[in-house]
Symmetry: D4
Amino acid sequence: MSNFNIDYDREDRLGFPEIIFGTSKRIEDLILIINDYITRDKNVLVTKLQKKKAKKLLKYFPNSFYDTLSGIFILKKTSIVSKNSEVAIISGGSSDIHIVNEVFYTLSFLGVKSEKINDVGVAGINRLMNRINDLKKYDVLIVIAGFEGALPTVVGGLLPQPIIAVPTDVGYGVSKNGKTALNSMLSSCANGITVVNINNGYGAAMAAVRILNQFNK
Amino acid sequence: MSNFNIDYDREDRLGFPEIIFGTSKRIEDLILIINDYITRDKNVLVTKLQKKKAKKLLKYFPNSFYDTLSGIFILKKTSIVSKNSEVAIISGGSSDIHIVNEVFYTLSFLGVKSEKINDVGVAGINRLMNRINDLKKYDVLIVIAGFEGALPTVVGGLLPQPIIAVPTDVGYGVSKNGKTALNSMLSSCANGITVVNINNGYGAAMAAVRILNQFNK
Amino acid sequence: MSNFNIDYDREDRLGFPEIIFGTSKRIEDLILIINDYITRDKNVLVTKLQKKKAKKLLKYFPNSFYDTLSGIFILKKTSIVSKNSEVAIISGGSSDIHIVNEVFYTLSFLGVKSEKINDVGVAGINRLMNRINDLKKYDVLIVIAGFEGALPTVVGGLLPQPIIAVPTDVGYGVSKNGKTALNSMLSSCANGITVVNINNGYGAAMAAVRILNQFNK
Amino acid sequence: MSNFNIDYDREDRLGFPEIIFGTSKRIEDLILIINDYITRDKNVLVTKLQKKKAKKLLKYFPNSFYDTLSGIFILKKTSIVSKNSEVAIISGGSSDIHIVNEVFYTLSFLGVKSEKINDVGVAGINRLMNRINDLKKYDVLIVIAGFEGALPTVVGGLLPQPIIAVPTDVGYGVSKNGKTALNSMLSSCANGITVVNINNGYGAAMAAVRILNQFNK
Amino acid sequence: MSNFNIDYDREDRLGFPEIIFGTSKRIEDLILIINDYITRDKNVLVTKLQKKKAKKLLKYFPNSFYDTLSGIFILKKTSIVSKNSEVAIISGGSSDIHIVNEVFYTLSFLGVKSEKINDVGVAGINRLMNRINDLKKYDVLIVIAGFEGALPTVVGGLLPQPIIAVPTDVGYGVSKNGKTALNSMLSSCANGITVVNINNGYGAAMAAVRILNQFNK
Amino acid sequence: MSNFNIDYDREDRLGFPEIIFGTSKRIEDLILIINDYITRDKNVLVTKLQKKKAKKLLKYFPNSFYDTLSGIFILKKTSIVSKNSEVAIISGGSSDIHIVNEVFYTLSFLGVKSEKINDVGVAGINRLMNRINDLKKYDVLIVIAGFEGALPTVVGGLLPQPIIAVPTDVGYGVSKNGKTALNSMLSSCANGITVVNINNGYGAAMAAVRILNQFNK
Amino acid sequence: MSNFNIDYDREDRLGFPEIIFGTSKRIEDLILIINDYITRDKNVLVTKLQKKKAKKLLKYFPNSFYDTLSGIFILKKTSIVSKNSEVAIISGGSSDIHIVNEVFYTLSFLGVKSEKINDVGVAGINRLMNRINDLKKYDVLIVIAGFEGALPTVVGGLLPQPIIAVPTDVGYGVSKNGKTALNSMLSSCANGITVVNINNGYGAAMAAVRILNQFNK
Amino acid sequence: MSNFNIDYDREDRLGFPEIIFGTSKRIEDLILIINDYITRDKNVLVTKLQKKKAKKLLKYFPNSFYDTLSGIFILKKTSIVSKNSEVAIISGGSSDIHIVNEVFYTLSFLGVKSEKINDVGVAGINRLMNRINDLKKYDVLIVIAGFEGALPTVVGGLLPQPIIAVPTDVGYGVSKNGKTALNSMLSSCANGITVVNINNGYGAAMAAVRILNQFNK
């Protein structure tokens, strides 16, 4: 009896494959699962993988890729044609870069082009104001912030596109672990903002893909 | 100096007008604000308005509409052409109807057609399974649930469209006030689900409108 | 043995008199305390007083004043010379008016002139941007907001004065009771913002008076 | 005066022996306690034992067994006849395996046969649907899940047996530490589900044994 | 399109019918639902129904029954043969009687005999000790307590049967709303106790029925 | 079968009788219980009794006493000789009087003399400093405070007697419901302070009686 | 300007000296403070001192004592005559021994004799019942428990002495960090129990000393 | 495209430069940012920098300064003329020294003189009382405390200046992580105290600078 029961049908059903949550899996199980994917000629995306385990996987699977900041591990056999639609990844501070990269690499894995607009937090709002016209060209805005999480509210009041807000665990005291940023985004007085779990960069990317797939098919 | 400072430019900027949060405003202030909208030939949407105050507004503004369940108040001078795209409003139990209606009337106010699929909670999952094929035709799925909030997870595993999950305050004990449903939706193991605040039906509707506006323009 | 033990020396020691917290005191005790103040020729400020009890006090003390929105009750025998310094009371939405008024009347009671800048919430940030130059002339900024509480962060990034942020209990779902606005203000990425308790308008006013007294003596 | 006061009478009274909570006991105390059990010809089950301490115990007690994933340590002198009744251990994801194993080995220690049905989480509900008929043959269902903890609700809506739900600490953001899965299971709209503490696999096993003992005697 | 989507198949699937959660349903919807049940010759159990709405239902459905303490409403057309197995409902204090009755009437509705053992809280543990022998004859023990919720732990250390613990909202300060009793029961050092949501008397009853059905068929 | 199971032996065992928690008991049950006490020639103390129910009891039991502020109801048949030891009841503000009275009347019911020292909160610390010498003569100090709950810390640093701290629910924002005062007292940097539940005035009185009984017997 | 400002007058004022909280002080500061105590011929008690820092202190101060389990460090120059009164230290499980020892050594440091009654948790209540008569001879009972913290409630229902309850951080899931045990003790239905902070063994010891000092002088 | 977007205009706009939050930035990014500051002839302040990363920076930038206790890193090219105004940094215990230093070095970086008044916690209130007259000469009081956080309340009742309260993470049990000290300061019954986030020493310093800049220009 196997410990795994992979949902291979997911890609046909939903338009994206099953993703592997890396944090709490053992290295020996990860190898078994990835080999199973390879056998079926599937691409592999592992999220939130610790460095120590990644090192072993990189050795074991020579053509794989790992981003230290985000913990994203990718093994991509088939090339995916990029879609025309584009996503902007807007972040408040350079400390949020681990989640910016998680979004970026997940989108890239799923064949979606995106651009990073870093470090435009609202404490120096001119930095954002200068970029507003540029931002109008993207189809989906993913807005990432820690601390008080005010950035999606300001963006949401200035731009009309679909907005997916991602709270991060950057902060200390009452904003430690991201709860304040999360609650702030959920309470936003800017209308029509949606939110994902704290640090859930790959979830935000997939929400963007659900939108793009629906309208670009 | 006035107490109000209405953002009349919002419709041009974002594609939907400023909405009035009714709960904590006094009746005399609501009348002032609504008259100001009327003068400028704008439609009015008030959310989460208490019955007692609604009664007075209905008398004061003869052509207005009020939904007791959701607390939505509408005063619509101009007729809005309905968009082709459609939204499904899926709910777990008949106790969630106050939020189902908040979504429904907000979408209707913004000119978007939607359909209600009530009472398909996962405790009798066959009810949902029977509807899966029907649900494939909608562009956006808004999924509403209280208690343990499992419905968006199951829907998200079965259908590929953009999903906006709305937790409700239906429940008692640990699920009182909707925190459990909210956290459950944010933690969903189904990928790419986005979430709005507890009972934030009109926010979910506006998130759907952001998506539809972006791709139907 | 009396139930009261009033700190009459406070005005000499701190520059402002003892304030009476009205919410949990019985009407008969309030009358006793106020009469005691009158006997000593002191002005009286009662905060967060319920309407029902206020009605009785207004009858009992003919020259008294009561503001229904904020629950402030004032009985002012001696005239107080207004200070030159001025305070701006900036608020996010017209729902925050109960706390705006609590600040305004407390400052007025303590002889400080202030001006209200209502309804400049960050969902329509142009409303605030238009006022920035005006706001430079005030010595202290008191910034009031509910929901996600982002306003003090944006103000703090644009203006150099002392800023006292007041979270309000306006909101629902995760922002019910003001905890989210409070935590958001405490976590602000704008530097040097200070915060008071949820709905503590009179505390913010007194913090402003501590600053003004220190530098205008 | 000894530091220990073991409840040797428990097996006669309750049908299962006292279990040793390993996490916060020192290695020297564990050895003393286990030797005391051996002297009285009792079997030993230590739960949630850290690897480092387990290594020492394995050396000290040559015939002992330790499962790294669950932290279960067993020293079984007498052979226990297996009961006919069977328990199904159903889990949402392969990350929950540490608790699956805690249930499995505790049941095995207490002489109860069980089977593991891994990785049937509701994001790919077909995996569970395919197993429903098989699952009807078990007397008790122990259902284990982390993240949003929706699995017991779906199982509880499909199957009539006694269900013991075990939330795990698998997740991050709002589901970190298992609180969301716990609250979700307690709030389940599927009727008659019971719940144990987060990660309390051995408690679930013992609850199953209480049921089996009552009806198989 | 109806607002209701009743799971009539549930009784065949699970051995008990769908139960109606009364708190958040409107009286007009309850009447519609109940009439629908009557048409199909089903018994009706409504839980947590407010007095005001119950009065109207009692008038509308002449043979119905309502228990003021628990808010249970029953309309029972067909007579159900009582099972031989019995359940003990043990409670800590006479303040818990609303939940004791919810368990009692739900069991009675489902054809299960039970007995109430009230007011045996651990502050006077002799009251429980005197009943231990009597308690050995029941197949399932449902143990109900508010405040610190210690009763299930003591019962669980003394008796071997399946135990379902129900925390109640009786208490004040830190035990207000039942969270302390819930956490205390989940943390119990007595092994094999299972727990349901705060005040979830009918859920405990149904968990007992799942056990009894499994072994008495 | 009765709903009540009174612990009449408690007075012999512990030195004080069973106390009746009034809040969640129905008036008809209270009358039954009190009559049962009367039959056995016992004194009756009901705590936290609502006014409406108290009115009925006062009519029913002519010689009974009720304190509106604290909700204490007393029916005292036998006269109790006062002990020589004395307790000081020190409170921060006149808003805490409901709990001051609960302590006072419970002590009085149990035959212990006490004195109230009201309104000596630390915002005007001179009020407390002036009383320090007087306070040295009491055997036990019960210190009551809401808001930030700092009073027991200051008292504990100045006086050597046993100190029982009682947090009250007086406050708003983060100190609403007394959690802040409770945590502040538990964290006190003054050594050897003990704490009871929020608003648990009668518990503090009984803790004092446990001390006095132990040393005055 | 020194970093320290020791309260040398405390012993005269309160009957016990200032205690040093070791956890967050640097080793070099600890040495300075202890030397300062030595110069003034005072005994030294450091609490919650980490092993690594203790090792250095033990080397530096040759006659000092350190208990690894509790983190208590003692340097006692003068011999203290033991008081006749005695304290019982009652604990639920052998995992609580770190706090048992903190109480024991603090009492010993302050010249008070105590006895440990370990491992009498309520899951095997006979172990406590067997000791009740022995326990009657102590003047103060300190009762220590983690997990669900039920032990003080049971002890408080059986014995009349002053009881100081100490919650510990032993547990996992909802009882991790001791919050459940704390709330359970504060909510105890046994009357007159007082509580100290989680793991605050030395505070409990000092509360006992306050009682003993008051009555034995 | 760079990862950084520094707000170089901040000093002109607000009177103090952008500060670098060190905790979550990588060493290679810190070096890039600092070099960028150097190029523009700006002073550099990094807060909450871990020791390991500081060591590398100290080597890389030879004239830099690092304070181990507070984690403050400073690289100051230009000399700043000290302002006449002075700030008092008052702290409760010597364990708070990490935050005392964060305030001290931030003020020093911004050209403001300050003095440390350490270890005057309210458990030995005489230590504070002896310093009251000295404290009258400072323009702003920054009051720092962990555990129950009572110090700002006592200071606020005795002195009239602007007070900025800083809760620290010093404590354990319910005061672990500083939440209790924070809530206690926000709830203070002393009027006009303002509060910053837990451990936010540099924020308090900047709030003081906002005050001093406003009145000393």
